[in-house]
Amino acid sequence: MMSAVTAGASPGATPVAAATGRRRSRAMVREAIWGYVFLSPWAITLVLFTLGPLLASLYLSFNDYDILGSPKWVGLANYVKAFTTDELVWPSIGRTVVYAVAIVPTALFGSLVLAILLNQRLVGTAFFRTLFFMPSLVPVVASAILWIWILHPKLGPVNWMIEQFGIQGPGWMSSAEWALPTVILIGLWGSLGGNRMIIFLAGLQGVPKELYEASDIDGARALDKFRHVTLPMISPTMLFNLILGVIGALQVFNIAFIATKGGPAFATWFFALHIYRQAFEYYRMGYGSALAWIFALGLLVFTYIQLRSSYRWVYYAGE
């Protein structure tokens, strides 16, 4: 293929070469047309439902818009309001970051441990894989409702079990100090064994067997093999999971929206919840859009930092 392309591109002087060149360029046009045809379903929906709305929300973020009237241009007022007069913004950003800092490393490490366990050819792996994956198969509302019930301070099984050790169980979601840790624990339960674990599992199974055999011959111990073979080989998978994990964690919304409603005393009032409240409960669509853009830019900065720093620790076998 490569040689054919270079032959077509080289300025061949003979008539035969010119003829094949023309035929080749016609083939290239045909290929391009088919490429666009096959791309079109995605291109259309991307423009209509992602890129268009992106621009629209950027425009709205400079307006006052309550959905009933027409948008009124206010310049940077929404952004100024977000950073100065809206007292819920900074604390909610802080809370969201605390949540992400607590959950991302733990979930990354935990999913890797689970994937390693499932990669040991144990009897019943299929069964355990389903068990581990189950929390992420349960709809968020269902798991929120389920956890409210399980962590019920007076009727729930968890506090009963804690009581057997002679300790008074906490109020979990109904206590201002415990609400955020509780939401973090539920988040961990829901995400440890999910797609992240499967992607790690896939990464582990993609490590060439020869590398392990070679290190066996060198007399490497299990821990050495993990550090010097497994970790470098799965580092691209790690980066993939890290980036998607950070994006997912900073968008934390569901549990707080359904179970704690941002409370008690704003203890679980996350940034995504703040956006939702402003936009869809108070119908401040312009202000909500400004908050969403602040959010998006923050996420982009985070992602950029991660990608930049990844050159230091990610190893691509192909390069």
């Binding site: 791309l39 198969l137 968020v140 409702i145 896939a202 994006i247 969403a292 998006a296």
Partner: protein
């Protein structure tokens, strides 16, 4: 490997080392099984509790210590939920949305991934970067304008806003399938070209048969996320009969003013909502893992 070599050389020393190694190996296996079982219990317990609660009678909800094994096995709770609430509507709405989304996303993602993986045309790499870029944007940012758009179109309280935006595929599924096609040798396509096949034919009869595990993976991921989608239905649907299961569940949430508890109904609903995805994953998991392994997801 190394031990097998050692056992063939019958020296007392190596035999002793063998025994201790076998001991360590046995202990290691035991430890691994213990870990797997402990994690299994942690992940499964809440669901066990949902099933147990769904079979309790109302008075049993208030027992303390809580009942770990329901006494009455009130299977009637399920019948109650199905008949007294718009469960049938919600189930139908969820099924319709999920089925159409799976069909749309899967077919479009295959076609678009083929375009990204095999064709050369101006703007391809830019489009691919844009596609990956959309994964980095939070969902909230497009939510407000799309809500306004669907409101203008009169699509609120219909399944359309939940289906139509996905009909061209999603960034993640397109990315997954593109990586998969890239791993297939190009010689296959070229052999088919020599045989006179056109592009749709190559995709349909050469590539698709080889992509089956990846396509199944995409279908399963899409089904689970469509079935469990919460944000979309929350914003676009509010009439009781138009809801999907994932938001219909909120019907049963106890209000602080409620004197009675409805947890037994709620939990039977939780079980019925979660069951289709759990069964699907259990049946598809082998293909599922294989599909992701073969696509070789990298950062």
């Amino acid at each position: 490997m190394a031990e097998r070599v050692a056992t063939t050389a019958y020296t007392p020393y190596s035999r002793r080392r063998d025994a201790s190694q076998a001991g360590a190996r046995w202990f290691g296996r035991f430890f691994l099984y213990a870990c797997v079982v402990v994690f299994g219990i942690i992940f499964a317990f809440p669901l066990y509790w949902a099933i147990a609660t769904s079979l309790k009678s109302e008075p049993e909800l208030y027992y303390y210590p809580p009942l770990f094994w329901p006494e009455g096995f009130v299977i009637g709770n399920y019948a109650e939920v199905v008949t007294k609430y718009p469960f049938a509507y919600w189930f139908w709405n969820s099924s319709l949305v999920s089925a159409l989304t799976v069909i749309g996303v899967t077919i479009s993602s295959v076609i678009v991934a083929y375009s990204f993986a095999r064709f050369r045309y101006p703007g391809r790499d830019l489009m691919f970067m844009l596609t990956l870029g959309t994964m980095m944007f939070p969902a909230q940012i497009t939510l407000i304008p799309t809500f306004i758009l669907f409101r203008l179109l009169g699509w609120l309280n219909t399944p359309l806003p939940l289906i139509v935006p996905h009909l061209g595929g999603t960034a993640f599924t397109i990315f997954l399938l593109r990586q998969f096609i890239m791993s297939l040798p190009r010689d296959l396509d070229e052999a088919a070209v020599i045989d006179g096949a056109n592009y749709p034919r190559i995709l349909y009869s050469v590539l698709v048969p080889l992509m089956k595990p990846a396509i199944a993976t995409v279908a399963v991921i899409t089904f689970i996320s469509a079935w469990n989608d919460f944000m979309g239905p929350l914003i676009y649907l509010n009439k009781p009969n138009a809801l999907t299961l994932a938001v219909g569940l909120r019907f049963f949430q106890n209000q602080p003013s409620d004197a009675r508890r409805f947890d037994h109904y709620m939990m039977s609903m939780v079980v019925m909502t979660a069951l289709p995805c759990i069964i699907l994953f259990f049946l598809a998991q082998r293909t599922f893992v294989q599909g992701i392994v073969m696509s070789g997801i990298k950062g």
